[in-house]
């Protein structure tokens, strides 16, 4: 069904900076090519150029893009508009942001066909229902009459695929379509995408930073770095015998090796003891229960030097757990013992020494560092605040901290805006370390980072634990990451603690069915993994979520 795509010498610039260096590749009809690379590697910019589109400030400065026998770049703007949505379709990362919340799904799904007048309204709707069925959406006959907020994120992503496919495009561009989804949802969406792409023999470009996902979808993989082609080869060959060193480092980062473990439970003194912790938001009723209970009856023990991973899907209450331990939200029941002393529920009641010993590191390094303060000031404040350091001692300690997180000392004078994502996350860690804490609460610290950068941050955290003896409460939705750094895993769903798995038992069953489901849902770095996942064998969810 799809057409061939030939790209020759494509070059994209922004001002004086070259975003994509002359790039040439070809896709056979009906094949899927994956563009892979870290953020800023130019993969989305390249994908958008296939539609003849450059983001504001960017310019396609040379080369040609042929879809079938048409040169996209030589078309007039009006002709390019006619091409987009008709012959080339684009599926964006965030479906939630791409749908208009005030119109029904069917109206929006059939819109491309109506705009390009390829089908009448009735025919388009019939085709949409057929696509809904192929994409394994529930109630394909009636789902179109709902509004975007009435379906889940994974369903919305599939509806967006239906919108893209309704005009039978020659080329489909999928831009990180599953990155924003939970693992258990991702696998369903991937399966649906894969079936549709296969059955319709569509030519597709799949943009992603996740090699394991790409391995399931693509026939060929193109590796980009700093806008330059590293290598382009069939998927099997890339996974088995990559040509470039960069691809090798990507592969290594995608298979996280377990880091050195900490002491087993009971081997060192008890640091944090959480007993029957419940917490929630909203006004409390007569029994002291908040209107919206997020956490219910959490119990675990963390020994000095250990790392405990908390895993669960979005909305499972894992961040609320960290906030309750940090004192940002008052628990409505249960106690938190820290070093055998009970922690007061509210931040304001805790002593400065207690606050110093528990530090928190947030997910988004962008919002975790004050953009108006230099790195030096950011690191100096906890040192002044807790220890009263000043002058040469302060400078010395700041340099030590930067060395500790392996940042050059020259970053001290810079503002956070001048640092990369990985560097910001290191500063974030350094600020927590400045307080000499016993426990660091890590909230999804590597989720916003590229795999290679994230792996380096994980290495750093493992080293710090060994050298400084800090403990971590490591919150993540990514089982791979948690398994790589943690001694124990706490599995959460809907605010309840479902299971606790020790490092020795990570690969030894039997486990709680939900842990098994999570473990099975993480894509493996080999071809054919997705085909082995039989939807019928999925474990029933132990707790019924809202519809």
């Amino acid at each position: 069904m799809g057409a061939s795509v030939t790209v020759q010498g494509l070059c994209i610039t922004a001002g004086e900076q070259t975003l994509v260096h002359p790039l040439s590749f070809a896709i056979e009809p009906g094949e899927v090519l994956a563009l892979i690379g870290e953020s800023g590697s130019g993969k989305t910019t390249t994908a958008l150029a296939l539609m003849g589109y450059a983001r504001p400030g960017c310019r396609i400065s040379g080369g040609s893009v042929r879809i079938g026998d048409q040169d996209v770049l030589s078309l007039s703007p009006a002709e390019q508009r006619a091409l987009r949505g008709r012959r080339v379709a684009y599926i964006a990362q965030s479906a939630a942001a791409s749908f208009n919340p005030s119109r029904t799904l069917m109206d929006q799904v059939v819109e491309p066909a109506l705009i390009h007048q390829t089908l009448g309204r009735a025919e388009a709707e019939a085709k949409a229902v057929q696509l809904f069925r192929e994409l394994a959406l529930p109630e394909p006959e009636t789902i179109g009459s709902r509004y975007p907020h009435q379906v889940s994120g994974g369903q919305l992503q599939r509806l967006m695929a239906a919108m893209a496919l309704i005009t039978d495009p020659d080329l489909v561009i999928l831009d990180e379509p599953t990155t924003a989804l939970d693992v258990t949802t991702q696998i369903e969406v991937l399966r649906a995408f894969r079936r549709v792409v296969r059955e319709r023999r569509a030519t597709a470009v799949y943009v992603s930073h996740d090699l394991a996902v790409v391995a399931q979808m693509a026939d060929h993989i193109l590796v980009l770095r700093h806008g330059e082609l590293q290598e382009i080869n069939p998927t099997g060959r890339i996974l088995a015998t990559p040509d470039s060193d960069y691809t090798r480092s990507l592969l290594a980062a995608a298979r996280p090796a377990p880091r050195e473990g900490g002491p087993q439970a009971g081997q060192s003194e008890l640091l944090l003891d959480v007993r029957g912790l419940s917490a929630g938001y909203g006004p409390k009723n007569a029994q002291g229960q908040p209107a919206k209970l997020i956490l219910q009856d959490i119990n675990f023990k963390l020994y000095r030097g250990q790392a405990i991973g908390v895993i669960g899907e979005s909305g499972s209450g894992k961040t609320t757990l960290a906030r309750a331990v940090a004192g940002l939200i008052e628990p409505c029941a249960g106690v938190v013992l820290f070093d055998n002393r009970e922690l007061k529920p509210a931040l304001a009641q805790r002593e400065r020494e207690e606050l110093r010993r528990i530090q928190i590191v947030f997910q988004m390094a962008d919002t975790a560092l004050n953009p108006a303060q230099t790195i030096e000031r950011i690191l100096a404040r906890p040192l002044q605040f807790y220890k009263g350091l000043s002058g040469a001692a302060l400078q010395k300690r700041i340099c030590e901290l930067l060395d500790l997180v392996r940042l050059p000392r020259t970053v001290a004078g810079r503002l956070p805006g001048g640092l990369s994502g990985g560097q910001k996350q290191r500063v974030n860690l350094a600020r927590a370390l400045a307080a000499d804490p016993d426990l660091i609460l890590c909230d999804e610290v590597t989720s916003a980072l590229d795999t290679v950068v994230g792996a380096a941050v994980l290495d750093l955290m493992a080293d710090l634990r060994r050298d400084l003896g800090v403990s971590y409460l490591f919150i993540s939705h990514d089982l791979h990451t948690v398994r790589a750094v943690c001694d124990e895993i706490l599995v959460m769903q809907h605010g309840r603690q479902l299971a606790q798995v020790a490092r020795a038992d990570f690969d030894r069953g039997p486990h709680h069915p939900y842990y098994e489901l999570l473990a099975r849902s993480v894509p493996e770095l080999r071809q054919g993994w997705l085909d082995e996942q039989d939807p019928g064998a999925r474990a029933p969810q132990p707790l019924k979520g809202f519809a």
């Binding site: 606050l355 947030f362 975790a368 004050n370 108006a372 303060q373």
Partner: protein, 302 residues
Amino acid sequence: MAFESASVPPAATPASLVSPAAPRSRRWPHWRLGFRFSGLLGVVVLAWWLLAALLGPHLLPRELLGSGSAEVFGPMSASHWLGTDYLGRDMLVRVVDGARYTVGLALLATLLASSCGTLLALLAAASGGVVDALLSRVLDTLTAIPSKMFALIMVAGFGSSAAMLVATAAVIYVPGAFRIARSLAVNINELDYVTVARTRGEGKVYIMLHEILPNILGPMLADLGLRFVYVVLLLAGLSFLGLGIQPPAADWGSLVRENIGALHNAGAAVIAPALAIASLTIAVNLVIDNLPGRAARERGAR
């Protein structure tokens, strides 16, 4: 050295250097600070009026100052550049003299209003809960009173001294500044770095002044400029009604009122102060629209 190289016109540079730097030539020289032409125009006009407010008539050539015996409502001439007023005084001297009141009082009132509004807003955002609700509702109530009416009552009750006018204008414009600052501060307050500061055990004042304030300063400065324009217009309006600065001193509003008699013969005496008000307000708006931070944001640089 740096200034020299920036001021060399492009034609003077060797041709071999021009061609690779062609896209660079669109960049502004250093001294422009990212201002466009309209912004520069605004800066020049604003600087002139600020200078006039500071130095007063000393700014003008000496020969203009002495002559006071001319005809009433005289036309523009070599000795009286903007004509003369209803008592035969030189209009240019009067306008430059009036800048002290118009610009000075308005600036003082605006600074007072914006800093009070910002501080209260920081307090409201950092405290939350009851403090926030109380401050917000009280200042909302103040907004409900029409500003001209409030000013009339204040002047009627306490007279129209310069201090009184500044205080009145400041009180009227505090709620506006508070609202904008609060909405900005509440958003910043939710960000992770403020949460980190809070878990560190920092006090309210540190969070207000070191974590939140630097990050709302840019928008608040832009707001300060807009508010300044409103205050200028309010004070000029009061003076025009005879309730502002009292004779023999005169700000631009009272100059318009004094010389309103010249309107029927198109005298420069009434047009000059009116133009002065217009040029000041337009200049301030031009400068705000061209603030470097704002231009950078529009280019997507941030």
